[in-house]
């Protein structure tokens, strides 16, 4: 398999780009795999990659009902950060952030991870307390974090309205300089290519319709392309987790909601960081193409239709104009929605299940893109070793029985 490099680009240009190899194969499914991963989003592909790379598992397939990255991976607003409040969550997201920092080189695929900083704004005294608390906790956990006062914010973020007389005045912000954004499609494709190079079969247009069990143990899956046997099955299907769990007779404490986002037309650079606000409910960054990438909270009803209501978009526009009045004259180019899997404590599940050999990774809700590498890494460990890594031990399904919830609603207040 050829490595991507600047030199390779030149050489291929000379041969009219006719010699580029496939980024990944499209094999027919085999009859049996050691591990089947259900869901070809970033998390599923990363899981397969780390299973092969870190645990030497040979015979792996990723089954994707549509096209890889076509779920939330390809629909999200790509904010990456690790400044979560609770130690359990913070360390998992921080593991992820560390992997992000070397990901392009590791995968030999430029995922355009751009550490342009992430600000979380405070609009009330309670917001300020919460931010103090989070910043203080982050620092003790070795995660970069600082509190930025309003005067400094004005200088750092031109265009942000920091005036005392706004409806919800900005009273400060937390800043994680190592946070930022990445190119979502490249994450799916980069993991797919790297996993494929390690022998993983990536099978698209292959929907899992049943989970086969025998004596409390998983033995394979039924798919739209026939039955596939497997010793272990890892399910990572984001918004459809409950549907897959149902196939195995498991109930998950997950609610699926539409989450919407939109982009503006491409503009000359105006915003070189990521700004998020729980208080007025919106967040914004600018892509390398110049589009303002904007999102907000979930639509409050449950559903699987990947579309939300227009009033949510209206509210989000109001919020953005509250923060950046000058964007009032900018135009929305495109809006879309995805289905997110939310847990009662706004934290994920990376866990064994009552069915032996069956594992679930879900509940990332509105904020799992940032976790893609860490989630895959920890899930691969859980599947390969049949036990949680210490990083995801707290994210076991058990916690909903024991009550050991990790309440991250504060850190995950708006979708991101």
């Amino acid at each position: 398999m050829k490595k991507y490099s600047a030199f390779g680009l030149l050489r291929n240009a000379l041969s009219y780009n006719e010699k580029w190899p496939e980024a990944w194969r499209s094999p027919e499914p085999k009859r049996k795999y050691d591990v089947v991963i259900v869901g070809g989003g970033g998390h599923g592909l990363a899981t397969a990659y780390y299973l092969a790379k870190e645990h030497g598992v040979q015979n792996i397939a990723v089954l994707e009902k549509g096209w890889i990255g076509g779920g939330n991976t390809g629909r999200n607003t790509t904010i990456v950060r690790s400044n979560y409040l609770w130690t359990e969550a913070a360390l998992l997201y921080e593991k992820s952030l560390k992997l992000w920092e070397d990901l392009s080189q590791d995968l030999n695929y430029n995922v355009m991870f751009s550490q342009r900083g992430v600000y979380n704004l405070a609009h009330s005294l309670q917001d300020v307390r919460d931010i103090e608390r989070r910043v203080s906790a982050n620092r003790l956990n070795g995660i970069d974090a600082e509190f930025v006062a309003p005067e400094q914010l004005k200088k750092n973020i031109p265009g942000l309205r920091v005036t005392a007389n706004s409806r919800y005045p900005v009273l400060g912000a937390s800043l994680q300089r190592r946070g930022g954004v990445a190119r979502h499609d490249a994450v799916a494709w980069g993991y797919a290519r790297a996993a494929d190079q390690r022998g993983v079969d990536i099978i698209q247009q292959c929907e899992v319709t049943g989970i086969r069990r025998e004596g409390g143990k998983v033995i394979g899956v039924d798919t739209t392309r026939g039955a596939i046997a497997a010793d272990k099955v890892g399910v990572v299907v984001a918004g459809h987790a409950s549907v897959l769990a149902d196939m195995a007779g498991i109930r998950l404490p997950i609610e699926s909601h539409p989450l919407q986002a939109f982009v503006s037309e491409p503009l000359k650079p105006v915003l070189d960081t990521v700004v998020m606000s729980n208080g007025v409910h919106g967040y914004i960054s600018q892509s390398d193409k110049g589009e303002l990438v904007i999102g907000a909270g979930i639509d409050s009803y449950n559903g699987y239709g990947q579309r939300g209501s227009f009033h949510t978009i209206e509210h989000t526009m109001q919020a953005i104009i509250e923060l950046f009045p000058a964007f009032s004259r900018v135009r929305m180019l495109r809006q879309w929605g995805g289905i997110v899997d939310t847990c009662p404590d706004a934290c994920p599940i990376i866990s064994k299940t009552p069915v032996s050999g069956l594992y679930f990774n879900c509940g990332w809700g509105t904020g799992g893109f940032k976790a893609t590498p860490g989630s895959g890494w920890a899930f691969a460990h859980t599947i390969a070793e049949d036990r949680s890594h210490e990083l995801n031990a707290a994210f076991d399904l058990q916690r909903f029985t024991s009550g050991a919830l990790i309440d991250e609603h504060g850190a995950a207040g708006v979708a991101h």
Binding site: Y4, G8, A13, G74, S104, A145, Q204, E265, G403
Partner: protein, 1001 residues
């Protein structure tokens, strides 16, 4: 500069000359022009540069599909980025700038990129810029610097936007012949019709075509029809209005542009109005987009859509070139060629890729006008960089895999192209409808619909004028009938009948070399996506249309693929060797054309972004100069500074007044819920943890409610006003959530309970009279009930008359002092407040705000839900076991038995004092046992509240600490966010009057 304006014809007003600036040059146009037609009239060929290769680009289309003419219009704070010149109406003194090209569009240094065209192939950036890693920041800065088209304004928007809700029976989108016919037919039944069209006038294609309806010129029919619609009371006609989004439940969002075309200074009228339309039935008549042809260098200025040329000639009286060549694979473009010729242009040749050429009507027409036709020929390439000079023409056998050897040049400065038509299925698709491939016309047409909508006209693949009118009329009648209106027999129309030959698809034009090696054949002009890019994507395994789109940026431009997507799909189908129907379309998403954030936001921005809730005493507080704290939607006085006091001095003074004499607070923002109904006790028993039923009438109780997880949700005082009547208070921020919570259980789980919940938060104002002198004050203003302890003990409520006003009087205390809360109808609250303030002068009555409220309660160790708790705190953690009834079940009770909740090392609520006796630590600060442990340093809790206490003479803090209840007397370290450490002594959270004697006096 030559003028390309025709002497006569068109719909421009030659009497009204507009001056405008384009890239600093002053040019002239007419009223009725678009910026594009005015530029063409002034013979401006290059209007932009492309995104990647910075190739010079000219105007290609005349509508929403324009990829190149993306302009910055207007100045300063009123500037508008990314407007399409083709849809921008000209006004006097317009200032327009091109958005790409440095130093200018005519000379762009970045055009050097074009030399590396093959290196910058699809997805090249995924394959490079990776090493050395530290340079990625520089690479990125370089990539970003070339981003975007126009620029966002820098200042506040001087304009206003409005929202309007509308309901109708039939919404018709598009006022071309089919839409007009539908609207007229529906309106004649009496149905309420809304007709919207994005252009400045109704007519659609009729404005560009030269034809007849019922044997009179189509323009006459148009005038008559529009007049009928405008005079009909049940019809709302909206021009300059784009339906951009089709959502669930037949909800269509449309934007009306009310002001831009007027060229007035901003801020005088509503700039845009968002229409939120609920329609029972929708007729979609949005027409179709003409497709370009993918030959080499098909992006050169002077290469235009044939229909656009026809529009510029007939509607705007502009001849976009002198000598034209038409390249087509279908009949429709012949009429454009004839229009060009009739207007005085030279038409060198019609190059028709079909072996058998066009049908009789088109051919006769062309021949009558002396236009040479070459069937079975192609334009393979054009010559000329900033303007087409020649077309390279070759004979062709019809085999796409062939390469073309011999070409001849035909001189021309305008190349008209037509690759057929694609119905605008956007709204139909947004509504959830499927699209099907029409094998005859080679285009996707609307299939099954999921909502109450139907498509007609060109937008449904109905191509002849007759069909458009007939089917439009049918749709108008059927939809009106579906809404229950009585329908008369349909009208028939008479139009000229054409004899056509079918289109033969040509997704990619063969060239002198293979499609991977020949000069660029563009599919998406704006993003520089070429045929070779799509083929490369397929080669690399990006096969799904969604992957191809994302890998090559096909369709990601501001035209959203309206122009080029279909050719891309054709090329993809060829590369995958599957029929195009199998490739499918990408998802059509709102907005159909881009929508201003301001329009989406409407009026609800700035001051009225969110409702501001003020108490009845708000103005009084403001007059005292109290700074406000934002608490949810409420504004609450934070503190009442005197004579230049800072917050610390003011709060210390306020606190001492409450402790020593008399203070008064506006507590009106407390959430209040009135509970009535036969089963009130039953409901509240299940919600609250204490024994509600045991409360005597007239008693108050402090109550808490838990989530199903056993964790604290909200708290407040409740009062039993009658056997089955209660008055609940909630936290200020939790009021809405608590009411929703109660209603949720009542409505979804226990509908059998007869309980009525009413929010009375705004109805009652609440005045807290606090301090040792509070009883005296109430007596002084005159109270008709005895306030003595024996008659009115702590935690009771009475109806009373105070100073002549009827009030509810509560003897409760959130400060630990003797205190009363006066509930009074909000209309009288201000009078009561002033009465109390006046009467209180002799006791130095002191108003206080939220900060003092917080300090007073912290001195007593009372929690504030949401500040001292965070959704992870159980009542046991707060030592509130005394509130947990053993006699009944309540929400969250079982969860309290869960393994994690019975742990003894949970974080528990305690008090702290700084060991140094003077540092007020920041609220939120984490606590550690040993700050010297390496990261991740284990944390054992955090500070939730922290104040200087005037009456205690030292700072105090509250917080949650692991095993805290057992650690009283120990020390922990507060690790502040600025990196400093403060030693803290763990103490009981009750700092003041631990036996609670003062409130009972």
């Amino acid at each position: 500069m030559t003028s390309r304006r025709l002497e006569s014809g068109g719909f421009v007003d030659r009497g009204k000359v507009f001056e405008f600036k384009f890239d600093g040059r002053t040019l002239k146009g007419f009223a009725g022009d678009t910026l594009a037609s005015a530029l063409l009239a002034n013979d401006v060929a290059v209007v932009s540069r492309s995104f990647k290769y910075h190739r010079p680009r000219g105007i290609v289309s005349a509508g929403a599909d324009e990829p190149n003419a993306i302009m910055q219009i207007g100045k300063d704070d009123a500037t508008l980025p990314n407007l399409r010149a083709t849809q921008t109406e000209l006004y006097n003194n317009m200032v327009a700038r091109s958005t790409k090209g440095w130093p200018s569009v005519n000379f762009d240094v970045s055009a050097i990129n074009a030399l590396f065209g093959r290196v910058f192939s699809a997805g090249f950036y995924y394959k490079t810029f990776m090493r050395p890693k530290r340079l990625w920041r520089c690479y990125e800065r370089f990539i970003r610097s070339s981003a975007g088209w126009g620029s966002a304004p820098a200042g506040n928007d001087p304009d206003e936007y409005a929202h309007r809700n509308a309901h109708c029976d039939v919404l018709v989108v598009g006022a071309g012949p089919s839409g007009l016919a539908a609207a007229v037919a529906a309106s004649r039944t009496g149905a309420r019709v809304i007709l919207v069209d994005e252009q400045n006038e109704f007519g659609g294609s009729l404005l560009s075509e030269d034809t007849t309806i019922d044997s009179v010129p189509a323009m006459q029919w148009l005038e008559k029809t529009v007049a009928e619609l405008s005079n009909c009371e049940t019809v709302q006609c909206l021009t300059r209005t784009t339906a951009f989004g089709y959502y669930d439940d037949n909800f269509v969002a449309a934007v009306e542009r009310c002001a831009d075309h007027l060229g007035k200074p901003p801020g005088q009228t509503v700039r845009e109005r968002l229409w939120r339309i609920c329609a029972r039935e929708v007729v979609l008549a949005q027409g179709a987009f003409e497709r370009p042809l993918a030959f080499c260098n098909n992006d050169r200025p002077g290469v235009m859509m044939a229909s656009a040329v026809q529009t510029y000639v007939n509607r705007y009286a502009v001849l976009p070139g002198e000598r034209a060549v038409l390249f087509t694979n279908n009949d429709s473009a012949y009429f454009a060629a004839v229009a060009f010729k009739k207007a005085g242009g030279l038409l060198a040749a019609i190059i028709d890729s079909r072996q058998s050429g066009a049908g009789v009507t088109a051919v006769t027409n062309a021949v009558d006008h002396g236009i040479p036709i070459m069937n079975g020929h192609l334009v393979t390439d054009v010559v000329g960089k900033k303007r087409v000079r020649k077309a390279q023409v070759a004979q062709w056998s019809g085999d796409t895999s062939q390469t073309i050897k011999n070409t001849v040049s035909i001189e021309c400065d305008l190349l008209m192209m037509s690759g057929g038509w694609s119905p605008a299925v956007h709204l139909h698709s947004q509504a959830g409808g499927k699209n099907i491939w029409d094998e005859t016309h080679h285009c996707f047409v609307p299939g099954e619909t999921l909502q109450q909508n139907r498509s007609v006209g060109a937008g449904a693949g109905q191509w002849s004028l007759m069909e458009c009118l007939q089917r439009g009329g049918d749709a108008g009648r059927t939809t009106a009938e579906a809404c229950g209106f009585v329908v008369q027999a349909g009208q028939t129309y008479e139009t000229p009948q054409d004899q056509e030959n079918p289109i033969e698809p040509l997704w990619r034009v063969p060239a002198s070399r293979s499609p991977d090696r020949c000069a660029k054949q563009f599919l998406d002009f704006q993003n520089d996506t070429s045929v070779a890019d799509v083929r490369l994507a397929v080669r690399e395994g990006y096969r799904s249309i969604e992957h191809v789109k994302r890998y090559t940026a096909l369709g990601f431009g501001t035209d959203q693929g309206k122009l080029g997507n279909i050719n891309g799909m054709g090329v993809l189908a060829e590369a995958l060797e599957v029929p195009i129907a199998q490739v499918g379309t990408t998802t059509f998403r709102p907005a159909y054309t881009p929508v201003t954030f301001g329009a989406g936001a409407g009026e609800d921005i700035g001051e009225i972004y969110d409702p501001v809730r003020k108490t009845a005493m708000h103005e009084w507080h403001e007059m005292q100069g109290a700074p406000m704290e934002v608490v949810g939607q409420w504004l609450r006085p934070w503190y009442f500074p005197q004579y230049g006091e800072d917050i610390h001095a003011a709060v210390a003074r306020e606190c001492m007044a409450a402790r020593n004499s008399l203070a008064i607070m506006d507590a009106s923002t407390l959430g209040k819920i009135d509970v009535q109904g036969r089963d009130s006790v039953a409901l509240l028993e299940r919600i609250y943890t204490h024994d509600v039923g045991r409360m005597a009438v007239g008693r108050c109780a402090y109550g808490i409610m838990l989530g199903e997880d056993g964790l604290l949700m909200d708290d407040g005082v409740m009062a039993r006003l009658g056997e089955q009547r209660f008055y609940l208070t909630t936290t200020t921020g939790g009021a809405a959530a608590v009411l929703t919570w109660l209603e949720r259980w009542l409505q979804t789980e226990w509908p059998e309970l007869d309980v009525h919940l009413t929010s009375t938060t705004d109805h009652w104002s609440t005045i807290a009279v606090v301090g040792p002198k509070s009883r005296e004050l109430l007596q002084k203003v005159g109270c008709n009930v005895s306030l003595q302890r024996e008659n009115f003990p702590f935690m009771t409520v009475k109806d009373a008359e105070l100073g002549g006003f009827p009030v509810q009087l509560f003897r409760v205390s959130f400060s630990g002092e003797l205190a009363f809360e006066v509930n009074i109808g909000s209309n009288y609250a201000m009078a009561m407040w002033e009465l109390l303030i006046d009467a209180g002068q002799e006791f130095q009555i002191t108003p206080y705000g939220t900060e003092t409220l917080h300090v007073l309660r912290a001195e007593k160790g009372f929690v504030i839900v949401g500040q001292d708790t965070d959704g992870s705190v159980s009542p046991v953690d707060l030592k509130m076991n005394w509130l947990l009834s053993k006699n009944k079940d309540y929400l969250g009770k079982r969860s309290l038995q869960r393994a994690d909740l019975v742990r003894t090392d949970r974080k528990q609520f305690v008090g702290f004092v700084p060991v140094d006796g003077k540092t007020v630590v920041a609220e939120g600060t984490q606590l550690v046992n040993d700050p010297l442990l390496p990261v991740p340093t284990p944390m054992c809790g955090h500070i939730t509240s922290s104040y200087a206490s005037a009456c205690l003479g030292h700072p105090i803090a509250l917080g949650l600490l692991q095993s805290g209840h057992a650690r009283i007397g120990e020390q922990v370290v507060a690790a502040q966010s600025d990196g400093t450490y403060v030693d803290m002594q763990v103490v009981s959270p009750v700092f003041y009057d631990p036996k609670s004697e003062r409130q009972n006096v």
